[in-house]
């Protein structure tokens, strides 16, 4: 997967009822891209639920959090609504998995691995993490440590 020190690739991710999110949107602040395999699947549900509890803490660190998956925007919107979360969702449905592939987290099965990429305001990746398995939920402490430069 993409490593710290490399520039984020050019990409475009669809948003529900909003213009696409691209690499140009990374320039406004620190961005935490949370790649997850499937909307509505058990670990993804827990992961986004826990991260959602901490949105104010992420904002205090100057970071915006986005969920990224290969689901359609409609599926992501339903997922977000059912969970009651505020984390904005970005869809890599079409061209299917292209952005996940550019970040090096696309599984041959057509879904994103569970991974986190932090991109600084200059568009350069400052930290990345790939879960050892799809069942491994990365603790948010890892993200906060990375944001703090620990």
């Amino acid at each position: 997967m993409i490593e710290a020190g490399r520039s984020a690739p050019a990409f475009s991710l669809a948003r529900h009822e909003s213009p696409p999110f691209t690499e140009r949107d990374l320039r406004g602040g620190t961005t935490v891209l949370v790649f997850y395999p499937f909307a509505f699947s058990p670990v993804c549900t827990d992961q986004l639920g826990i991260y959602n509890e901490l949105l104010d803490d992420f904002a205090d660190e100057g970071a915006a959090v986005y969920g990224v998956s290969c689901d359609s925007t409609w599926s992501q919107a339903a997922f977000r609504r059912q969970l009651g979360i505020d984390i904005e969702q970005l869809s890599d449905f079409w061209p299917h998995g292209r952005t996940s592939g550019a970040f090096g987290v696309l599984d041959p099965g057509g879904f994103a691995h569970r991974a986190i990429v932090i991109v600084g305001t200059d568009g350069v990746v400052t930290w990345s993490h790939l879960s050892a398995s799809l069942d491994e939920l990365p603790g948010p402490n890892l993200i906060f440590d990375a944001l703090a430069g620990v």
């Binding site: 549900t45 639920g49 509890e53 009651g84 939920l137 603790g139 948010p140 402490n141 890892l142 906060f144």
Partner: protein, 158 residues
């Protein structure tokens, strides 16, 4: 291991092995784990880890038990909540408070107070710092055990 504090809720025999459990009252795995742990000679420390999206009554339940704590009834309310996780709506919380002989007016004001919510958040943040990402999570001798405790872990605590 997250350090113990005077605000922690602890029960069990003096000198018992200290086990910290991060849990929430809507989590069935937490209730099952608690049933196993209460049979063991441990100093059990309970800390809150409510996740509202997947368990929407976990936060109100955590606030209810903290409100009960302000009337010296943390553990009775803790046990009452785990004993019947299918009834965690507000009227069920009031019924438990009444059954435990709490002052209902004080209980209701406390459980909705910012002081109590902040107390719950203290536990949640300590969990995050300690790498907790699921419930239940146990800390034994400084080692984190996420998910339902294994038979081996329980045997090691007996």
């Amino acid at each position: 291991m997250p350090p113990l504090s005077v605000d922690d809720h602890v029960r069990g025999p003096d000198g018992g092995r200290v086990v910290i459990m991060y849990a929430n009252f809507e989590c069935p795995y937490c209730a099952a784990a608690e049933l196993c742990l209460r049979e063991l000679p441990l100093r059990l420390v309970f800390r809150h880890f409510p996740v509202r999206t997947s368990q929407p009554r976990s936060f109100p339940a955590a606030c209810a038990v903290e409100a009960a704590a302000r009337q010296d009834a943390f553990w009775p309310m803790h046990d009452a909540l785990f004993a019947d996780q299918g009834r965690l709506e507000d009227p069920h919380l009031w019924a438990r408070a009444e059954r435990l002989g709490l002052d209902l007016g004080v209980f209701e004001a406390d459980r909705r107070s910012e002081t109590v919510a902040a107390r719950v958040r203290v536990d949640f943040r300590s969990a995050i710092r300690a790498g907790v990402a699921t419930t239940p999570t146990l800390f034994v001798d400084g080692v984190r055990h996420g998910g339902p405790p294994s038979d081996e872990l329980l045997a090691s605590l007996a």
